[in-house]
Symmetry: C2
Subunit: 610 residues, 2 copies
């Protein structure tokens, strides 16, 4: 995979151009490569060997502490020591000022090696949010101690009764005493409520856990404000600290209510947490002590600021699980003898068996995986590049990048979580019966990957976001911008030998997509348009990936090979492009048909008819 | 599900007409219902409550014995006591002379309750084979003791180096002494070799295990005959018995080499067995003692005789796992409040949340499951009905049924294993994060179901069987027959109000399928045709299911409802039919495109390009 990452960064995304910008001026392709080298090595040494171990030795609670394997402790330490937690931060805060594109690529190696040991994505996201929305003291005390790896971070959004529907958050935050606004850490509140699906919510991996918690401050009538407008964001440390970042010795009232036992992704502790239930009364209680971040009522806005990167992170995790399965099944197919070539005269059973990679159907399953996973990797890195552009580009370029990123984010999150899961299923299939056993790694990749369609906004939520918001916002400006970019690729490809056919195919698909978008909204009735938001999301994703593959085909055509390996790489990219365009892209027909006709059979279905 | 089974048997397949045949003359719809009642009850009481238990308490080997949960012992006993092991057998052999259609329907309840506890399908299959191909003594001693539940049976086909490629079986059988042909149990051989993936290969559930083993008898040159021609079939009991069926006290040389630890389906012991390795030397050894069944060299033919029913069994298991997930997610969706209706004015967060079954996208996921699983159930029962027809119909009808069954079997096996797995994934998705935890049953159904695309002939093998053999055999007679049957349905549906549109859609799809079949073979080069056998299988399956759904739509239109429940059932069937025809059937376009153009990108892919 490394060779592909290098190719994508250098030959396709031209990462070197980033180093012309002041923020990244100290960097070069060499420093980028060093970061990738380091991460690849740590992932190989500290993550990959323990991926099955963290699946079998699930986190367990001994009544007092959550116990994790030593390997997890070691991996988390090594990751923190690498400096990756603050890779994107300013030098003055101990960061590397690394472009997000390179950070995302580097983190991919950990996800491939062992997705559930975790890389501190939550800690980084938590601290990044504080750097953006926190006070100076919140940054210095909380964010910086997270970046150093001394403490870790969580994101506490969901509740047992409020998952997809965040507006139903019921955790309550009330001012803590008359002097609550005088608190140096930010207005001090007392929180009570339950938070569900909290990853890394309880463990002993480091000294403290900094929870970022969504909660509602009651209105003047004492009632919680309905909807998302009422939601605020709070820092709730597991252990209280002073302004110098020293533990005060006081345990905050955050209690583990239970560990969730999952189908996969078992290396990560996933918890139900009770805030302020009285298990650990603190400073006279009741309630867990929390400090307001940003302004009251703007909690979700602060969180959503991190959402694009978090969703790219999930997409990348899904992609890397797919990639891990692809590599495993490719290696297996190369060495497993079974069967003989299909020839006109029938098979000659006296001949020795051939490696299964010689069978067309096995090649099909490998090529599908390649098309799904390498395409998804390119998409994620493209989106990461947009993040960098939105932060460091000219105002005009930054605005464009932001808009395009808004439209692409639901795809970056949903597409790999659906299709790289399918890749994992194919990886099992290539292995035959062996793939279904726990003696081979692929069944775990498949189980691990099933989470990605659920967390960080389900597939259905991504679909509503895309069709209900992203493609209609600003009069459809985002969709138009995407169409323009796709059109430019088609234009360029049309002039390259061998790419006219996929270019034309993509042009037709893009037109179909545009027409379906219009038809979906033709009546202006959201209920009618959005009933088929998921097939729309699927079709949209396939069009985007067909575009990405045409881009990669172009890049392969333009990268004159210096070695046999590079020539083979180019041939492989062109084959995967063709695979995607002939086997996958035509699937949009079925998905868009129901979108276009605003098919009503689902929304008109009655409960009693099931 | 019971109401649907009754509807399918009575109103669609007209199971009562079977009772007009001599073999089933003692039966009636009432006796059929009693069998279903009994099986439904045993499944509910002895299987369903222990489905998670058998997942967590995997079979383990204590060095001497394989230990299974008590629940498995109880379930196996209850199943044997029900008489289902010999349900289809003659009265004179202790059977019920039950039509296979009813047997398959009855067994479905066990598969839904706990697929991996197992129902004795292997034992029944083993004994049925002996009733067909065995000598009188083989029947009396081995088959009858299996039917009674005193002993159990296995099928030993695969070897570590010979899974899909059975012609590479290397287990050797040599005549046991000069008097080997004088053995009353059938010519006596000594077997040496390893058999992989043997379900129920070792356990203490009953007194003895009767292995049916494929092995090769060396030719005059002492070498094994290459290919499948050389394969013979042997009875190899774990413990030797005498002609009265009494254990002689001698252990045969069949040794457990290891248990396979699987992703799911963990209630069933799955083993690697060593035959004749010398661990249990018997009667002076070497080799395990085995008795030839049928003629030498005809082992596979004997096995294939059972294949149609075994494959229907796998398809039904896949279907029932899908159905179990559908029912679980439907129940969950009815009681889980989350979110609010999409309305033109936006959501009113002050309103209470609604059950998620009210959301169009959740209804879509439920309707998809309904369409996949109920359609698959109908297909399996249709195929089971063909089995009965092939056994008890007029010679002409029997021949037709056999031919049609040959063509449909790859679909009956592969389609549910692909799409009811997808149904299980949707069942998880409906549950959100909860579905990904082991506190809910759906993740297990999904894991369990992943096996079905692998065992009893992988997806790829089914595809080669369909496109490489079934649709071309006898000059395409099977495909023509299917087309005729589908055409009759289209004809009938065309005259019914509301069914003209799906009838026309199916007619077009059938034509597309026929054209693609021709194009695939246009050059007559197997390598070119078969490179896209799997997309062909997928398209073929969807056309077959669209036909089944049109049949069910017709049946629903024709069954005048006597109650509100029946009216709701009819409405549900018609909605599922529409769902399948508008969301699913159009997918064939993408699959058949590559078949028709004999797309070569996969088979031309080079190893080094990956």
């Amino acid at each position: 995979m490394r060779a592909l990452v290098d190719f994508l960064l250098r030959d396709w995304l031209h990462a070197d151009t980033l180093t012309e910008r002041p923020r990244f001026a100290d960097h070069s392709l060499e420093t980028f490569a060093q970061v990738l080298d380091t991460c690849e090595r740590i992932a190989r040494e500290k993550y990959a060997p323990f991926n099955r171990l963290v699946d079998t030795e699930e986190p367990r609670f001994d009544g007092e502490k959550v116990i994790l394997p030593q390997a997890t402790h070691d991996a988390v330490k090594a990751y923190a020591a690498s400096g990756m937690l603050s890779a994107a931060q300013d030098y003055e805060h101990g960061g590397m000022q690394l472009p997000y594109t390179v950070e995302a690529a580097a983190n991919a190696f950990f996800a491939k090696a062992s997705v559930s040991i975790g890389t501190g994505m939550l800690t980084t996201g938590n601290a990044n949010l504080l750097m953006k929305h926190g006070t100076e003291l919140q940054k210095t005390v909380f964010a910086l101690n997270e970046f150093s790896g001394r403490w870790s971070g969580t994101m506490c959004l969901s509740e047992p009764q409020a998952g997809s529907s965040l507006s139903d958050v019921a955790t309550k935050a009330v001012p803590d005493g008359d002097d609550f606004e005088a608190e140096p850490f930010g207005a001090r509140y007392r929180l009570t409520g339950n938070k569900m699906w909290i990853s890394a919510g309880e463990h002993e991996l480091n000294e403290n856990i900094i929870h970022l918690v969504l909660a509602k401050i009651p209105g003047p009538d004492g009632k919680l404000v309905p909807g998302t407008r009422g939601i605020s964001l709070f820092i709730v440390p597991k252990k209280l600290v002073d302004a110098q970042g020293r533990l005060t010795g006081e345990r905050n009232d955050v209690a583990l209510a239970g560990l969730n036992h999952k189908c996969g992704w078992r290396g990560t502790t996933n918890t139900l947490l009770n805030f302020g239930e009285g298990r650990f009364p603190v400073r006279g209680g009741p309630g867990a002590i929390g400090y307001l971040v940003g302004r009251a009522g703007e909690g979700l806005r602060c969180m959503f600021h991190m959402m694009n990167e978090a969703r790219i992170g999930v997409g990348m995790a899904a992609t890397m699980l797919g990639m891990a399965g692809y590599e495993a099944s490719l290696a297996y197919a190369r060495q497993r003898p079974q069967g003989r070539p299909i020839t006109e005269g029938g098979k000659d059973a006296a001949e020795p068996q051939v490696p299964i990679i010689e069978h067309a159907d096995v090649k099909r399953m490998l090529l599908a995986q390649k098309a799904y996973c390498e395409g998804a990797l390119a998409l994620e890195l493209y989106c990461a590049r947009l993040v960098d552009e939105s932060h460091t580009g000219t105002p005009e370029a930054a605005a464009e990048a932001s808009l395009l990123l808004e439209v692409l984010t639901p795809i970056a999150k949903s597409w790999p979580s659906e299709w790289c899961l399918e890749a994992n299923s194919l990886a099992i299939q290539v292995h035959g019966g062996y793939g279904y056993t726990r003696d081979f790694p692929v069944e775990q990749y498949w189980r691990d990957n099933r989470l990605n369609m659920i967390h960080e906004g389900t597939h259905g939520i991504q679909a509503l976001d895309l069709l209900g918001r992203k493609v209609v916002m600003q009069g459809g400006a985002g969709l138009k911008l995407l169409a323009t970019r796709v059109g430019e690729t088609i234009q360029r490809a049309g002039q390259v030998q061998g790419l006219a056919e996929p270019a034309n195919g993509l042009a037709a698909a893009l037109q179909q997509l545009g027409a379906a978008t219009k038809s979906a909204w033709a009546t202006g009735v959201p209920e009618e348009a959005l009933a088929n938001a998921t097939p729309y999301l699927q079709a949209f994703g396939h069009v985007v990936l067909a575009w990405i593959w045409l881009e990669l085909g172009l890049a392969a055509k333009q990268a004159a090979p210096a070695t046999d390996e590079q020539a083979a790489r180019n041939a492989g990219l062109l084959a995967a492009m063709r695979y995607f365009h002939v086997y996958e892209l035509p699937k949009i027909g079925a998905w868009l048909a129901v979108v276009s006709q605003r098919e009503a059979v689902c929304r008109e279905m009655q409960d009693s008819w099931f």
